[in-house]
């Protein structure tokens, strides 16, 4: 190998604006996060959730009982939130931890990029994968059912908006969880165990404590329960949510925002991380 003299172009090259620079990070992150784990979890979400929605809607159509509430099927069991948790774990564990671990965060932040832009780009990339898994499968199912003439357009539009709203809420919360735990370590594996373990523990622990004590507020500690309640609330039954849907939505949104802010604060302490 040889080293040659550098050849420079114009030093006054026009540079792109802040948004384009952030998008450059987002694009790179989207690809980096597209590991086999993320893709497999998203595929699993697509297959299982879309199948449930389609089968339920077809059956209701045959029995002429198809209504908007029929399409709440994904929220009747904890499978949908747990699949999203898998995606969040796979796509979010390394978001900040990997950069801290290999110190590439040093190179990023030595560029003309703001810390909030950097964390924001990470959140967008991670959140995009979660949103794809959260809203993609039911939306796809509704689109297929509408094209097949199984679901009337009016119900399909309402259902699509409902799926999107719940999906966005799930994305905000799980992105906050993933980034905050990823910011606590320089090892993606630890972050992944933390993300999955914390949410699953809250789900199981809250269910157990609520069953023993009968306390009506304990289920609010379970993100899985909160997500299901919001979904059921948006579609109007027929299941009974364990928690109040509006309060559940507020808890999830606030928790997601607080955890996201925590991740940004942790990233701002990168000088400690890198030492």
């Amino acid at each position: 190998m040889t080293i040659s003299a550098p050849r420079y172009g114009s030093t006054s090259s026009e540079r792109l604006g802040r948004t384009r620079r952030v998008l450059a990070i987002v694009r790179r992150e989207l690809r980096r996060r597209a590991g086999w784990g993320t893709v497999a979890a998203v595929a699993l979400a697509f297959v299982s959730v879309a199948a449930v929605v389609i089968v339920d809607a077809e059956f209701a159509s045959l029995t002429r009982t198809l209504r908007l509430t029929t399409l709440e099927a994904p929220f009747e069991s904890p499978i949908w939130p747990l699949l999203l948790l898998l995606v969040a774990t796979s796509a979010g564990a390394g978001a900040l931890a990997e950069d801290a671990g290999n110190r590439s965060i040093v190179l990023y932040l030595s560029r003309p990029i703001r810390l909030l832009d950097y964390v924001g780009a990470k959140a967008i990339a991670c959140g995009t994968w979660i949103l794809i898994a959260a809203a993609g499968p039911p939306l796809t199912a509704v689109l297929i059912l509408t094209l097949l003439g199984v679901v009337p357009t009016s119900i399909a539009v309402s259902a699509a908006l409902g799926y999107l709203a719940v999906g966005l809420l799930a994305t905000i919360f799980l992105t906050g969880v993933a980034l905050s735990l990823s910011s606590l370590t320089s090892r993606p594996l630890y972050a992944g165990v933390g993300i999955f373990g914390v949410v699953l523990s809250l789900f199981i622990g809250a269910a157990a404590v609520a069953a023993i004590t009968g306390n009506l507020y304990v289920p609010y500690a379970s993100p899985v329960t909160l997500l299901r309640s919001v979904g059921i609330g948006v579609f109007g039954g027929p299941s009974t949510p364990e928690t109040d849907p509006a309060t559940s939505a507020a808890v999830l949104a606030i928790a997601g925002a607080v955890l996201g802010a925590f991740a940004a604060w942790r990233a701002s302490r990168v000088e400690v991380v890198s030492e």
Binding site: M1, I3, I25, V106, P112, E271
Partner: protein, 310 residues
């Protein structure tokens, strides 16, 4: 008013009870400046402060007239090559440099063009399509240097850039830095291997225990230590005779016999010694076969300053 490319005033950085930098004051005017000091002296702390990665606990630090801490568009005029590996192992060398250029704000086409050029400059063209995890340590250093120069920065910060690079690579990277200097770039380069910096520049800052021991032209720094004994080794056929003559000089403080035919002289005024020696040799027909001074080496200068010059 700040005039230097880099201005540090009473810069202090603590890591808990440990002082990383201790009221470090220095001004870097341009060209290539070597930051020299042993491991743990505070070089990397200073570089991290310069790169905006650390916030000083006290004092001020400016680069190109801008405060080093915080976010700023001026960073597009600064290239930074960190000491430690900071690479995305899954990316190819080309994609790594291109990605960082995109963050710098270059369009995709220009980023790709500049990345190729920078990779060519550091001699990694053939390996540009390989993933970074397959790179050797020297190749990693090269690709880090490539990303630090690819956006054509005005100021380039290189923290131990020659660490891990093979001897040929060291030589060629040295030439690269000289070329960059001639192209008008300002370069701050650190090393704990003193001869590396000595080959790059005469303009040095010597740092130890978080403080700047000395700064300036190597020869001027050398003048600072003239108050300390200067060591000169002589090879001669008659060491005792030579020692007898040299021992009469006031500025010679000690004479040792480290081996057969060898003489080690310690003197306080080396310039006077060098001026007086040739006439003595001619007059007394002394057999002096060689004369070397270990103190011409930067290592000796540093040793003097850090151990006895404070």
């Amino acid at each position: 008013m700040t005039t230097g490319v880099v201005e540090a005033q009473e810069l202090t950085k603590r890591y808990g009870e440990v002082l990383g930098l201790n009221r470090f004051t220095s001004s870097i005017t341009g060209g290539i400046t070597g930051l020299v000091g042993p491991n743990g002296a505070g070089k990397s702390t200073l570089f991290r402060l310069l790169a905006g990665q650390l916030k000083a606990d006290a004092g001020t630090l400016t680069l190109l007239g801008h405060p080093a801490w915080g976010e700023g568009e001026f960073r597009r005029h600064v290239g930074y090559c960190p000491e430690h590996s900071a690479l995305y192992e899954g990316l190819t060398g080309e994609a790594f440099v291109t990605t960082l250029l995109r963050v710098d704000g270059f369009s995709r086409a220009e980023a790709e063009e500049r990345a190729l050029r920078a990779i060519e400059t550091v001699g990694l063209t053939e390996a540009r399509g390989r993933r970074l995890r397959t790179y050797s340590k020297g190749m990693r250093q090269r690709v880090k240097i490539a990303q630090s120069i690819a956006h054509d920065p005005e100021l380039i910060l290189l923290d131990e850039p020659l660490n891990g690079v093979d001897p040929v690579g060291r030589s060629t990277l040295t030439e690269l830095l000289e070329t960059l200097q001639k192209a008008g770039r300002h370069i701050v380069v650190s090393s704990h291997v003193l001869y590396e910096v000595e080959r790059l520049t005469d303009q040095i800052i010597m740092i130890s225990n978080g403080r700047a021991l000395a700064q300036g032209d190597l020869h001027r720094i050398r003048a600072l230590i003239d108050a300390h004994p200067h060591v000169i080794d002589l090879e001669t056929g008659n060491p005792r005779t030579v020692a007898r003559f040299l021992g009469e000089w006031d500025h010679v403080t000690a004479i040792e016999f480290p081996g057969p035919g060898r003489l080690r002289v310690r003197c306080r005024a080396p310039e006077e010694f060098y001026r007086a020696l040739p006439p003595l040799v001619v007059r007394e027909r002394l057999d002096i076969r060689s004369l070397t001074s270990a103190d011409d080496n930067l290592d000796a200068v540093f040793r003097y300053l850090s151990e006895g010059g404070r």
